[in-house]
Structure formats: C-alpha cells, structure tokens
C-alpha cells in the first residue's frame, strides 16, 4: 500500500549479522556477477534515493537511507564493491556499521561521484548495467550520467534485480516473518490498551510505540472509517473515534530492512478496541488466500478473484489493487495487476489486499502478508 513517507526513518538502525550475515550478500553478489558476465556487463550500478524505494542498493549492501538522499552501489565484474551515498562525511562511521561493504564514499551528488568513481577505475568506456537510475534519480543527475557515459554501452538491468528480489531466500523470509510478528504485536497492543480519550493520533501513538519497542526501523499507519463520507484509507489525523465505531487500520512495519503489512478491522467498544470479523470482505479474502499456489498464472488469479467478487456482488475498487510482492520495498514485484504476465513462485512474499464498497456496509478493506511456501500459502500477519 502506498503510505505517507516520513521525513526520517526513526526506528532501530542496526545490522544483525546473525539474521543477515555477510555470506548472504556475497552470495547475491556472486549471482549478480554471473548474470553480468552473461550479459557482457563490466559494471552494474544500483541506485535509490527514497525511504520507500531503497531496495536495490540495499539488496547488495544492507545500507538503507534514513532520509531521501541518493545511494549507489557499484558492482564491478571483478574487484571491490563500492557504496556511494549522499550525506556528510561525519556520518560515514554510522554507515559503515550497517554494511559489509568496506569502500563507502560520502558525497553531495551521487551521480557526479559515481562517474568520477567509474573514471578512477577505468570503467569509462565500458558496458554499464543500470537499475533505478532512470526511475529515481533527479533529472539533472541522470542527464549528467547520460552525458558522461556517451562512450559506454548502457544496459538496463532492472529486470535482473527485480527477478532476484522477487524470490526470497530463507533468511529473507525470516526477516519478513519478524516484521509480520511486530505487525501482529502492534495490533494486539491496541486491543490491550485502555484509552481514556481516543483520537486517531492516540491509535498511531500506541501502535507506533509498540512497533518501535519491538525493534521496527520504520512504521506506517493508515486508517479507514467506513462511517465517513467517501471513506478511504488515509493518514491518521486528530479526529475523535466514537464508541462502537468500526475502524480499519493498515499497518506496515519495516524490521532490519524488510517490510510486512496487515490491514484489519477493529471496533471501539467502551474504552478499548476489539478485532472484528464484521467485514463483508472476509469470506472472499479467505478464498483469495486459499487460491494462491506456486505455478498459478497471476493474471488468471486476478481475473478469477474479480469474477468471484462479482458473483458475491462485491464492487472491488481497482485503485487499491489486489496487492504485490513485499520485502525490501512495501511495493515490489510481482504486481498483481493487469500488466503482470508471470506466475506465482515458491519463495514469494506477498502483501495481499482488497478494498470494496458495498451499498449497505459502505467501504471495507483487508490485507495480510502471505508467504508462498512449498506447502502453500502461509499468512504471516494473522493475530
């Protein structure tokens, strides 16, 4: 789900070498280099500059930017991997504490510094693979990159990285599972909390505190209130919550770089919340989860889901989609939309969601993080 991006990732910032050892990253580098070799690349550049879309450089380096600043991982076919990140030189010790990459360079402009790095290492001219530059770099930085690599053969490598990230290793699944555990803890917490006064901000404060105490690196929360006119998911405001009122909460938690997301319905009864099954989407959503299977065409899954909804006279809201992959990004491949031509595969982690309007019940939304294992779908965010 798209969420409001904070000005800073404010949670626990560590590299737990047991959860994600250096060998995991070296394996990824090895696989990438094998593919680079197949495609004739001399060097691969992975760029990101957002607190939401940090995934490609992080996949190799474990580095995540806390603010919207550029970062580039440079992977030569042979030799040392480098991490070039925008920021202050005094922050370098902190950066080095969360990455295995030893060659970390701070700069003002990641494009200019990356070009200088390529020149210093004799990689201009060469065949350069790129991912994320065109999609996320500010236009002037990308223009500079293009102008500076006119003598090079530039190959778009987005697909290569996308396919690798789409199938999670066991360690990655475990990280998503840890994030999902925090999601469920935070949902449980608001059911255990007695609210003397209750506004949406109080909900956000309680869930956020619980998630950060449990080690979250980033926390995003949205609310939907079916009683509102034109109800939709939105950031929480200072509005009061009424007794017996259903609210739908979307909580996304990032733990050690990996995300999980859940969307659940609660009723505010007296002075606390109780989880509610009063959501007309529940039967349909359960069927959607059960129908997930490795090997199934995603387009077919989508078509059949919408047909099922139609048979139940549920008017699915297409703007929310049915979900997508989740991992180093809240929204990553595969996207369960009409453009997806692939199949579900074992090892995928998915943020499934569905939103609809009903003539009598109004707006409803549900969501879970699901791991597609060899034994079928496993819901990771179920309380």
């Amino acid at each position: 789900m798209e969420t409001m991006r904070p000005t800073l990732k404010r949670g626990r910032d560590v590299w737990d070498r047991i959860n994600m050892p250096k060998t995991e990253f070296l394996e990824r580098v090895g696989k990438i280099r094998a593919r680079m070799g197949e495609q004739g690349m001399n060097v691969l550049l992975l760029h990101a500059n957002s607190t939401d879309e940090y995934g490609d450089p992080c996949y190799i380096s474990n580095y995540v930017m806390k603010m919207p600043q550029g970062a580039m991982v440079v992977i030569p076919l042979a030799g040392e991997v480098a991490l070039i990140c925008e920021g202050f030189a005094r922050d370098l010790p902190g950066v080095k504490g969360i990455t295995w990459v030893e060659n970390v360079i701070s700069c003002d402009n990641v494009s200019a510094r990356s070009i200088a790095f390529l020149k210093e290492n004799g990689l201009i001219p060469s065949t350069i693979g790129i991912s994320g530059l065109e999609q996320s770099m500010p236009h002037d930085q990308y223009r500079f990159f293009l102008d500076s690599t006119g003598s090079c053969n530039v190959i778009r490598a987005n697909r290569m990285i996308r396919e690798m990230r789409m199938i999670k290793s066991q360690r990655e699944v475990d990280q998503v599972r840890r994030s999902a555990r925090i999601v469920t803890r935070a949902f449980e917490k608001i059911c255990q909390t007695t609210f003397s006064q209750i506004s949406e901000k109080n909900i956000e404060a309680v869930m956020g505190r619980e998630a950060y105490f449990e080690g979250a690196e980033d926390v995003r929360i949205l609310i939907a209130r079916p009683g509102e006119a034109n109800s939709a998911l939105r950031p929480l405001e200072g509005l009061p919550v009424s007794a017996h009122e259903p609210v739908m909460l979307c909580l996304a938690v990032e733990f050690e770089r990996y995300w999980a997301q859940g969307i659940k319905t609660f009723l505010f009864e007296k002075d606390t919340f109780v989880e509610s099954d009063r959501n007309f989407l529940r039967p349909l959503f359960n069927r959607i989860i059960e129908s997930l299977a490795a090997g199934r065409e995603i387009s077919r899954f989508r078509g059949e889901t919408l047909a099922q909804a139609g048979s139940l006279q549920i008017d699915v809201l297409p703007e929310y989609g049915l979900g997508q992959g989740i991992g180093l990004s809240l929204q990553e491949a595969p996207f369960l939309d009409e453009s997806e031509t692939g199949r579900f595969q074992e090892g995928m982690c998915l943020a499934l969601q569905i939103a609809a309007r009903h003539e009598e019940a109004g707006f409803a939304v549900m969501g879970e993080t699901v791991y597609l294992s060899g034994n079928g779908p496993e819901v990771l965010t179920r309380v």
């Binding site: 798209e2 626990r12 957002s50 065109e134 404060a205 950060y212 939709a232 939103a355």
Partner: protein, 372 residues
Amino acid sequence: MSDGNRKLEKALKLINQKGLDGLIIYSSGTCFVLKPFYFYYFTEFRPIGSNNAALVSRSGDVLLLLGPRWDAGRAARQSWIRNIQGTSDFFKDLTNVLRKFNMTGTVGVAGADQMTYPLYEGLRREAAVEPADDIIEEMAQEKTSEELEVIRKTARIADIGLQAFLRHARIGIRECELLAEVEFAMRSAGADDIFNLMGSGSHNYAMHAPTDRRLASGDAVIGEITPACEGQFVQLCRTVFLGSPAPVLVEKYDILVRALAESLKQVKAGNPAALISKGMNGVISQAGYGKYCYPPYMRARGHGFGVGSIAPGAVIDDDTEAVLKKNQVVIAHPNQYFPETGYLACGETILITEAGFERLSQTETRLYSNEG
C-alpha cells in the same frame, strides 16, 4: 479572503509578471527537513503518492493532480483547491491538463529538482520549462499568522517531546526505546511528522538513528528532538548526563550555553544570518576549540525551518550571505565536538522579530543530569 485565494492571487501575479503560461508545483511525495515543500505549502495538502502536481494557468484555472487515486477525497477535504483529480497515469493526465489550460508555451516549474528524467524530458516536449522555485519562495517568505499559530503549537509539542526525552533517558533503556517514548509523547500531543536523532555513550561523535545500545551510567545522551505539524518543524537540542557530570563536562557545556547566548544577541530582522554562526564560533574559539568549529567536526550552526521556504537557508555558517527577516523560523545550535567530552547537543528554535527574536519553546537551555 481565504488563505488559498491569497496564495492563488499572489501566484497569478508572479506568473504574469514572469510572462509564463502557467505554473506547475510538483512533488514526488518526499519530505526533506532541510528543503522547502512547495507543493504542501501551496495546496495545503501533503501527498502520499510519488507523482503530484498543482497546475495554475495564467488565467486562473487551478487543478490538483495526485496519486494514488483513492487519496483524492482527503485532498478535497484538506486543500483549498476545488478541482482535484486522482491519477494512475500521471504523465498522461498532466499533459492533458496542460493542453486544456493552454499551458503549452512557457511553463514555470517549482520543485523540478524532484522530477525524474523521463518526466522532466516528457514535460519539455510539451512546453518550454522554466525553473520557478522563486515564485513559491517569494510567496512563502513571510509566515502568516495561521502559520505562526501552527509553529507555536509545534513548539509546545517539542517541549513535550524533550520532557519525555529527559524523563526516559535512564540507565538500561535502549536508544530505540527512548526515542519510541519521545515519539509516543509527541504523537499523542498531535505531531504529524517527527525528525528525532540521538547519540549515547561516554564519548559521542555524532547524532544518528537509534540503535540497540542500552544507556549506561556515565553516558552523555544527546538528542535532536523535532516534531512537525502541518509541515512546520521546531527543534530542540539538549544533552542529559546519566550520573553526576564531571566538572569538565559542566565546563564544556557552559561554553555552548554561552555560545548560544552570544549568537542570539546578534539576531534581529535585517542582520546577516552569518552573525549567528560567527557569534557561536567566536565563543567556542576563544575557549580554545576553534579548529573544532569547522568540518569535518562541525557543519552548520543552524538553518531555517518552514514549509514553503526555509529562508535564510539550509546552512547557516560563517559564509552565509542571507539576511534575517521578520517571522523567519531558525534553529540556532552550537552542537559541538570537544575532544575531552565528545559531541554535545545544545540548540533552540527561534522566531525572528523586528527587534530581536522570540524563543519558541520553554525548556531551559542547560546541561541536564539523571542520577537514577
């Protein structure tokens, strides 16, 4: 006249003065504490999606184009702009509006630095593009009474956050738990965004995002506590010592308190912002730490805060050329590395007035200690 109409009127005046066909105020949805948020300022709506624009034609047509589509209802409630369109194909819809509004000659763009290459180049195929950040900067340079009210509210939340920081900075708590408590206090008080950094240890080098480290006796715990409401940030920087602070720490912190006081003596509308930095650096240099006032040890001595403009700028140092103006909001922080004590935090957010300045928060500027 509503605030929105005032903004539209000012924008139209500047669009026509510059001979533009219209203005695009763009946002990629990111918020950076050291940069203005032109889109948020103009529309009074903070977007979720990664492509958003307000379009204003020279004849006064206005449209808010945003993603995701499901967020359009919130925009309708919060923004003064009545013509709102959710989009799932931003560029296509943007070009359609440009043509409909006859914005196909020369178009000003505010926030173009957030545009990606495909978007910017695509836009250049539709119209001649001129940078127009200055339009919003000019509109936003003097904060309105409504903005000042929000800033004062944010300052009260900063006090609440800092009190939580002082209360929870105890032996045994993890850094991430400490900042969770601070955030809880500020969220409960109404903050809608937060920028908190900290450090802890017997000898700190910088502030950072929180770690698993548990606070221990003898730690200096440094914090930069920064809530935001409606895009207005207010910051407080403080140090709390766990235990009885050694005389050397008391002495060094006193240098910072004096440096801050000296720098604030120079503050009033019309004075160069650089005097803030020079005032601090003068006191710290006289104490024998001149070399530690500059990179790599120190960067800026302060910066502006605001939604539409962060004037006098993102960096206040000895070389800053900007002049302070009435109603600018500025953080002045003589945060400083000392070889004997490590990095210490001390700073205030102030409002520039004709005669001087107004401290926005109430928490006393001193070295704090928690014995327990």
